[in-house]
Assembly symmetry: C2
Homo-oligomer: 335 residues x 2
DNA sequence: TTTAGCACTTGCATATTGACATTGCTAAAA
DNA sequence: TTTTAGCAATGTCAATATGCAAGTGCTAAA
């Protein structure tokens, strides 16, 4: 966003704005004649302005004799200079308010529900990303016998994450011994960041448990496995994954498969996580997830539990509406 | 499967078998000439046999002058009478054996890993369905304070399921009171099937907690919500969801979207669950999930925890190979 | 600076064509 | 009675043509 920003003349701005907004509605290239009426001039004049906008890089043609389509730079200019967040319509408002006025709902459930509604209203896909494990501190480890050789290990973090793993333990180890080690871990490692636990397990726990239990190596390995496992889990929740596929830009088999695979690929989720404050818009190649989509995201913070809310849609997204909705959501989350 | 089963002559059987197996390999209609060599007769003779098989409903034409394609009845006859489970090839064997010989792996993890490999080898989609909640008995409820107004409720079942829910409790309720109710539930409702807990909560717990805690209505409602929530969760795990989409039968946008939506639709999962013992094959409209796929499924049982393993592929599935693989898997799960 | 007019380009939907694959049928051969 | 050769009929598929509609760029006049 550095560099000289050339502001467009008022009339050029109007044309760009109309092209963007019309295209968002119709998904079809916009012709000069279709906006000449509203602009109170002839289509030829509009064509002149369009030629100018095209030379500046804000709009494009799909082929030599087609109407114009906004470019990424065009959307960016629109978002930065021409658009303002849309006040919610009565209907949108009504749908969301009933959720937040329902005090029985957990706040995190309210967010899920809101996003379900937003996804349905807009035909975009929403993603909720839970705070990744390394931001959580260990609060408690607990084990619970199920049968002779089976126990559950529970790991609970300060932010309310719970992970569990079923274990089959060999006959040589008793539940009592496992419990003893659990107590030691609880005494020494509480408030350690989850992703640091494995390390501390090696240096603080491993050297001493030999004094308390037999078979300390096996037990150490068991706990190490459990923690390694847990540290690598992260929560993400898609709402309306298929909505996106109904957008006209996803009308080819290739693109559909491509986006589906990306939604499934855990390694790409990092690219959805919100790193900046406020509501941010990443248009096309501005995001690392997929160059054909726009992602609008914002952080949320519920009692210290932080995460990301993201709306994924085509570049031809209703920017003003979504930003308005997210602003409303944010203000409600922070009461 | 009732009714008269007309067994085909040996030569007809051979032709049907060749058509099915060739079509499974190539996904292209099979012509009379392409199998006349192997059958040691002219294509005209094969055509006569084919006409007969078609009149019996075992094969079909895609258009008047096309080769033949197996019908559902044809696949069914093939599976019931012509096919035998395929011994695994050295390669398949090798891949799977390394998993089961690794004793460090939890059995459930070994199943996941095996299915990953199977999905990759075959380009089908695998599904693992955990036992649904109503087969689990309540083992313990536990609550844990996080901060003043936030607690976690944990629900653990006899089969090692753990569910949790974060709760915000009003100031009027103390953690102590919540704990007291938890103790009562643990005393009275342990070993109740999860889906019956809500009911028992109403008749056995609600009437008496007034004696132990103030605000018993709010507390009752809170626990009721938690259990209702938990009873409706069920675990399912897809492996290689996108593999199926690469099969040539899913070459249209419509079908891809359709199957993706079905995979997402929780209500359809019931149709994947295995109800019968052994390895069962549901071809096309024989399953209620999707008429364009075949589902081969089997129950598994690990230390009393039961569930379903299912392979979802096109009707043109390598029946013999998959059944062979599942037999191997089953025998390994039961040691 | 704006506009009217027109030639030009492209997309799209719909035939047209020819090459090819495969069948069913008929009549001859085994 | 069963098998086969031969051939017309019917379909797919890919490439090509055709006409129409939409929309632009350019030129010259207003």
């Amino acid at each position: 966003m550095l560099g000289v920003i050339k502001l467009l003349s008022e009339r050029s701005s109007n044309v760009l704005k109309m092209i963007v907004e019309e295209y968002i509605k119709s998904a079809k290239p916009i012709s000069s004649s279709s906006i000449s009426d509203t602009l109170k001039c002839s289509s030829a004049t509009v064509r002149n302005i369009m030629a100018d906008l095209e030379s500046k890089g804000y709009i494009e043609k799909t082929h030599i004799s087609s109407g114009r389509v906004p470019s990424e730079a065009g959307y960016r200019y629109y978002v930065d200079n021409l658009m303002k967040p849309k006040e919610m319509t009565g209907e949108d408002m009504l749908n969301l308010q009933t959720i937040f006025s329902n005090n029985n709902l957990q706040l995190s459930d309210a967010i899920s529900k809101s996003l379900e509604i937003i996804s349905e209203m807009t035909n975009y896909t929403s993603v909720i990303l839970g705070s990744s494990a390394n931001e959580n501190l260990l609060k408690k480890v607990e084990i619970m016998p199920l049968s002779d050789n089976n126990i559950i290990a529970l790991i609970i973090t300060d932010r309310g994450h719970v992970e569990h793993k079923n274990l089959t333990i060999p006959d040589t180890i008793s539940v009592e011994e496992m419990k003893r080690v659990t107590e030691i871990i609880n005494k020494l490692l509480v408030n350690t960041p989850i992703d640091k636990v494995s390390e501390k397990l090696e240096f603080k726990i491993k050297p001493i448990i030999g004094n308390y239990v037999k078979q300390h190596e096996v037990i150490y390995e068991t706990f190490l496995n459990v923690f390694n496992d847990v540290a690598n889990r992260s929560s993400m929740h898609f709402v309306g994954k298929n909505n996106l596929l109904n957008q006209p830009e996803f009308n080819s088999l290739e693109k559909v498969k491509d986006i589906i695979e990306k939604f499934d690929d855990k390694s790409l989720v990092d690219h959805i996580k919100a790193n900046e404050d406020g509501i941010n818009v990443y248009i096309g190649s501005e995001n690392e997830f997929d160059e054909d989509v726009t992602i609008i995201k914002t952080k949320y913070n519920i009692n210290g539990e932080v995460g990301t809310i993201a709306i994924v849609g085509p570049k031809r997204m209703e920017y003003d509406r979504i930003i308005g909705l997210l602003e409303y959501l944010n203000s409600n989350i922070n009461r």
